[in-house]
């Protein structure tokens, strides 16, 4: 979850205009997606964040019943502001109008302006008055159907020999989402998905889709039971050293990603096929105490083999969620996993303390790899972590941290501080120390590595807002990996440096200049030697971006980016990307379109460039551009009627001098790849 406090003190001027116009919420998507701790997917499901904000925009929160957690969902409010709104209600009674917000000194004009988009004043809805007839009128439902496919034939679909690896299904992608919401007290959701290449009503997918997910959520059941989720849910506690399901934000131009503030128990609404819990969980609050017990049983995909004693053991777990080939089919949902645990937290004034426990059991023994770098990985069938976390606000300083221990293994610790040193300047520092024998499969914490282990680092960042127009952000992160890693045959270290200057035309546009420099080390096998040495790998990235709203109908966005990859004594290469985006809105906003034309030229994959792409609702792309060619896409959104929206997307990449695109089963003959997506949503 995004830390509200951080957002408030670090990027208010930058982020606020973004919220003002619904269309520009896409900008926030881009900012968030660039800071996901795992940037690899071509398509990222941002529904967890986007859905929440859109839902509040559509169905504003009632100031007379709103809870602190709901206000915290509006990521631009600080804990102090949230407290002041609730205090106002206690002191002066129910709100009569949203205009009363102006009498709360902690809220400035711009915050009020934004807050008005997401709140309103209604008489409180009372749970005990619920009866089926009146309740049903307040129920909101939505169904969303999505279809997509790559238009060219990929090699995996053309294989006729059943003994060779091939895709068992067709190249179509289907997804269906259904959701029901009653006054934010009862929520029901049911999601279904089939990825490209996966069988549909065949093989192990005899019931149709490859992935099903659903939940029923009851909120504010009574004074003590704050919520209960039956079905799929996610858990986010502390700084993510033990449990952090769902989206996790890390380093980036927005320093707010560093300080996490766990949102606790949330229903799961994404299409990702892993990293969530399936079972039952609840949050019970008594006074200053809150406890969140949970139980989950899920089946993961992975490889099970017989060991020397003839016992079945787990040799790998596959988190891709793809079940397209005979091997992937054989491994589908073969690993049975049982989780249980709890988080106990205590909140008083500006202090929050928490204790988290997680137990993970596998039916079979999970084996660690045999490579030297895997020497300290967990092996066994029962994994437990126990940890404590806290956050505390003292004057203009926000302190946060977590410490966790794997039972029978190592420790992980992180500690951070955000300080609003001046109305124009904020600083953030963060220290992390994750031991090489700490293992937590559901951990997502600030760091450089993809796992929370084998890493020490210190991050320091500043954000400076001299006025409404300028923002300057800079950070340095220096880190060490004390033990070996994949493709790094020795202890290694690195640095990540980013500096960014943004000039904003209020409500109209902005100009952004960014430079990022990264150094890491990895193996290099030099000629004449028989063992790997560690070589410094340098990445330089320079980006200039301009976007401007020309009028109510047209908006443009341009970017030029240069990157340089330099692996000491091994390989060097440059890359460049230029694109032009155009956004159009017509027929009173009923029809919206945006398109991109991009030219890219990089020396191979190592000098690749990632760039955010607009996509259909809930989906955001962060695809990689490499080699030489042109990429273009067109997105359309048509508001067919009051409750019906339709999206269409066509994207195409044409490479120069290529006889095929992609590799393995995804290989396409020719020099281009194109993709379509269609999506329909009906709300009632």
């Amino acid at each position: 979850m995004i830390s509200k406090f951080v957002l408030y003190i670090l990027i208010p001027l930058y982020i606020l205009p973004v919220f003002c116009i619904a269309q520009e919420m896409l900008d926030m998507e881009e900012m968030l997606i660039e800071q996901l701790t795992e940037i690899s997917a071509e398509e990222v499901d941002l529904s967890e964040v986007v859905d929440r904000l859109w839902a509040y925009k559509k169905k504003p929160l009632n100031l007379n019943t709103v809870h602190a957690e709901q206000l915290a969902d509006l990521i631009f409010l600080s804990p102090q502001q949230i407290r002041s709104i609730l205090n106002h209600r206690i002191l002066t009674g129910a709100f009569l109008s949203v205009l009363e917000l102006q009498s709360i000194p902690e809220l400035n004009d711009r915050t009020i302006q934004l807050l008005k988009l997401f709140v309103e004043v209604r008489p409180p809805a009372i749970w005990k008055d619920l009866d089926v007839n009146t309740a049903w009128k307040s129920v909101e439902q939505a169904i969303l159907i999505k279809y997509g496919r790559v238009l060219e034939q990929q090699a995996g679909y053309a294989v006729k020999d059943p003994t060779r690896s091939h895709y068992l299904g067709d190249p179509n992608r289907y997804a269906v989402r259904y959701k029901l919401n009653y006054e934010d007290k009862i929520r029901i959701a049911w999601n279904m998905e089939k990825d490209a290449g996966e069988p549909f009503f065949q093989e192990k997918q005899s019931s149709g889709f490859d992935f099903y997910s659903g939940h029923i959520l009851f909120k504010h059941v009574n004074r003590s039971v704050k919520q209960v989720v039956i079905g799929d849910y996610i858990l986010q506690f502390g700084q993510g050293l033990i449990l952090w399901n769902g989206l996790s934000f890390g380093k980036g131009a927005w320093a707010g990603g560093i300080a996490k503030e766990g949102r606790g128990l949330q229903p799961y609404s994404s299409m990702g096929e892993n990293r969530f819990q399936r079972g039952i969980a609840g949050t019970i609050g008594v006074g200053s105490w809150e406890i969140t017990p949970f139980v989950s049983y899920n089946k993961l995909s992975g490889n099970i083999e017989q060991n020397g004693d003839g016992e079945p053991v787990i040799t790998s777990i596959n988190y891709s969620g793809l079940h397209r080939t005979p091997t992937e089919q054989a491994n589908r949902r073969s690993i049975k996993q049982f989780n249980y645990g709890t988080d106990l937290s205590y909140r008083r004034d500006r202090l929050k303390l928490g204790l988290t426990y997680l137990s993970t059991s596998f039916v079979h023994t999970l084996m660690s790899g045999k490579a030297l770098y895997q020497q300290f990985d967990f092996e066994g069938n029962h994994l437990q972590q126990l940890g404590i976390h806290y956050n505390y606000t003292f004057k203009n300083v926000y302190l946060f941290g977590e410490m966790a221990k794997r039972v029978g293994g190592g420790m992980a610790l992180n500690q951070g501080m955000l300080a609003s040193l001046h109305p124009q300047l904020s600083a953030v520092v963060h220290y992390r120390n994750y031991s090489r024998d700490y293992d937590a499969p559901y951990a997502r914490a600030t760091g450089e590595g993809s796992h929370v282990k084998n890493e020490k680092g210190f991050y320091a960042g500043l954000t400076y807002h001299p006025n409404r127009r300028f923002e300057y952000a800079v950070y340095v992160d220096a880190f060490r990996f004390p033990w070996l890693r994949y493709r790094v045959d020795g202890p290694s270290s690195g640095v990540d440096f980013l500096t960014q200057l943004t000039y904003t035309w209020y409500k109209r546009g902005r100009l952004k200049l960014r430079y990022r420099h990264r150094v890491r080390q990895e193996n290099a096998l030099l000629s004449g030697r028989h063992e790997n040495l560690l070589a410094n790998v340098l990445h330089h990235q320079l980006r200039l971006e301009f976007q401007y709203k020309l009028n109510e109908v047209w908006r443009i966005r341009n970017r030029a980016e240069w990157t340089r990859y330099d692996k000491e004594d091994v390989e060097q290469g440059d890359g460049g990307l230029i694109y032009q985006d155009v956004f159009w809105k017509g027929y009173g906003g009923k029809l919206q379109a945006n398109t991109r034309l991009a030219f890219f030229h990089t020396k191979g994959y190592n000098a690749r460039i990632y760039a955010y792409e607009n996509n259909v609702l809930y989906t955001s792309g962060f695809p990689v551009y490499y080699d030489k060619g042109i990429r273009t896409y067109l997105n359309l959104r048509w508001r067919v009627s009051r409750g019906v929206d339709f999206w269409a997307r066509y994207a195409r990449t044409i490479y120069n001098n290529k006889e095929s695109v992609g590799s393995g089963l995804d290989k396409i003959p020719g020099n281009s790849k194109s993709d379509i997506t269609l999506q329909l949503r009906w709300q009632w």
Partner: protein, 266 residues
């Protein structure tokens, strides 16, 4: 040979060896080009021009914590008529009783009007290994500061403009570098410094620091430098005319180098 190797390791750390920054500058990432202080003697001599009274200071630093490598420094400044200041500095770096780099500095700085000051520093560098080698050389530093307004100062430094070096056999070199610095008082409590150095024998070095006054007596500082990537931090106490500052560099591999500096304004 082994002895020479140890010495090479000892003195090849440029930042520690030849240039000494006292705790307030060290804590802010070894910045200081655009600041005025007694400690400017070993940083940018133009910085002592703004002193209004006589000042004296000492500093002691332990490099890489538990090792025997130490620095000691002494600073003294005497402002006199016509906005001029004479200053004297001494800093030594080395293994006590074994090998040592000693730098003696004599500086003269003068303010020209409200906006500009400059300083010159003559430095004597002595390299000494007990019963082994001994070498002396002289270098010259030129410094400038421009006070754009009450809040912004810009500093510039040409270090070792004469390109003086020790004899070839000496495993230590005197940096030849040019620096430009920026210092901004964001408020009475908050200051930011940014310095950039171009060295003849090294790559560009970027340094940044921040200073925050928790109250009128306690100042907290932090900084970062790019070559090598190091963090810095420190705390300063102001007890009337006495300034006590502690600071440390945090090198990701070599560890911490804590320093204590004490100064008195007469």
């Amino acid at each position: 040979m082994l002895f020479k190797t140890i010495l090479l390791l000892l003195f090849s750390l440029k930042a520690s060896a030849q240039v000494f920054n006292a705790a307030p500058f060290l804590a802010m990432g070894n910045t200081g080009l655009a600041q005025g202080s007694l400690y400017s003697i070993s940083n940018n001599p133009a910085g002592v021009a703004s002193l209004e009274s006589m000042a004296f200071g000492v500093a002691y630093q332990n490099h890489f914590f538990s090792s025997e490598i130490q620095s000691q420094a002494v600073f003294a400044a005497l402002p006199f008529a016509s906005s001029s200041t004479l200053a004297f500095g001494m800093n030594s770096y080395g293994l006590q009783g074994v090998a040592n780099l000693l730098t003696l500095r004599g500086s003269y700085a003068k303010q020209f009007g409200r906006h500009f000051s400059s300083g010159i520093s003559v430095n004597s560098h002595r390299y000494y290994v007990t019963n082994y080698e001994n070498d002396n050389t002289l270098s010259l530093d030129l410094g400038f500061q421009y006070y754009a307004n009450d809040d912004i100062t810009i500093g510039a430094l040409a270090r070792n403009v004469t390109k003086a070096q020790h004899e070839d056999v000496v495993p230590a070199y005197i940096p030849v570098e040019f620096g430009i610095g920026f210092y901004y008082k964001l408020s009475t409590a908050l200051r930011i410094a940014y310095d950039m150095y171009y060295g003849l024998y090294t790559s560009l070095d970027y340094r940044g620091g921040i200073e925050y006054a928790v109250d009128s007596r306690v100042v907290v500082r932090g900084g970062v430098a790019s070559h090598p990537t190091q963090y810095f931090g420190g705390v300063g106490l102001v007890l009337n005319k006495l300034h006590v500052d502690i600071a440390s560099a945090f090198h990701p591999r070599l560890g911490t180098s804590p320093q204590l500096a004490i100064a008195y304004d007469f």
